[in-house]
Amino acid sequence: MSADQKILELVNVSKRFDTLDVLKNCNLRVAKGETIVLIGPSGSGKSTLLRCINLLEPPSDGSVLFEGHEISNDLRSGDRVRREVGMVFQNFELFQHLSAIENIMLAPMKVLGMSRHDARDLGQELLRKVHIPDRADHFPDELSGGQQQRVAIARALAMRPKIMLYDEPTSALDPEMIREVLDVMTELSNEGMTTVCVTHEMGFARRAADRIIFMEDGEILENAATEEFFGGRANERAQKFLSQILH
């Protein structure tokens, strides 16, 4: 994984809401196939950083480069970029009026113009991939949290994204369901899916991440390989945070 294979680059990205500086000069490079875990206290700007990547929140300053092209200078490119960047949310956000498989089929049909028949095949294939092929016709309120989140992952995968962004994907789940979601994410990561994940699941970070990024007050304070980070070589504030969340 050399640096010239980088798929995504943030250069001096800042984000202000009115007078509040949420992100301050953040720099980040993500290589193709890499898995990065973003950690940090709440309010440190992790989610905002994630949303700057797919331009759901356009950066106030700095640039975002996707596959070498700057995308942050033209906000109309947002829709196009988001076709290639999958995103998974803390609260799943499955479309309530659609069944599991219809949730997966919607974007390929309406954005890519795929036929209903092909989209259904794709939906079935992806439901198998996230280990719930028998829940195709269930509606979101008939699925457990873990199942909903796995459908949400399948829905994002349906657009054949080049990178997956996860925004605290297991924070809203009951403990016994966290594993099934993390397993799917780990499998995807191992298959080479480029991943940026905001999470407090340190077990997942150890298992799947190549690098750990630590953020506080809108700044990236540490960016280290996973072994180094957990090997006690992270900087002081990151160490302190780590000891807090590990109790």
């Binding site: 970029v81 956000e93 509606f139 829905r155």
Partner: protein
Amino acid sequence: MSFDLVAQYLTSQHFLHGAWVTILITVVSLFFGVLAGFVLALAQQARFWPVKVMTITYLWLFRGTPVLFQIIFIYNVLPSFDIRFSAFWSGVIALSLNEGAYMAEIIRSGLQSVKKGQRVAGQALGMSRLSVLRWITLPQAARIVLPPMGNQMIGMLKTSALVSVIAVQDLLLVANQTASADFRYFEALCAAGIYYLALTSLFMIAQGAMEVALDPKARRRRANGEAGLRAIARRILSNTTTAGGDNVR
């Protein structure tokens, strides 16, 4: 009283025509009313402030004065500015404009009931704003909006009787004229009442059918072989007991 006379009125050309005029006014006014309401609901969410001020003024005017006033105003005052409409169209315009103001509030509340996260999730998949509105926001809002909209529609059927003051030959005016000509108030009004009840019943069935059509789970049950009529009947019966409360998420 004479049941024969009621039956005679019910089948008379006069009453049939009156009922037809009532249906026509109601349906046409509803069509334009919903259209106006939809545009107003979207305009209210506009960030450009003059648009916002205009829609709020509109709502203020049309919700702040009686419909009867609006009907008479359009029919009697506008001609002095050389704007002339037939009695029928004056009625339709007044009812549509008035209905639009109420529909706007219903549709706005429906659109707002769809949480922002749903739209963001659509955007995150690369869908355009229009696509998100069409395939994510509207279908969810429609289910929320349908019960209060059904109320409005049935209300419109009855409000349409107000156009009789500007001499549109609707069901009520026909009944009243017939009654005073024959001195048979009871029979004439009975006949009109039966027509009104029949029409409101039709509207209720139509509302039930639309709710079933928009209920995604009913769609699945239908695919599994449940008869459509039974679903509609169940929907109407459950509505009278829960007053649409089962649509609240």
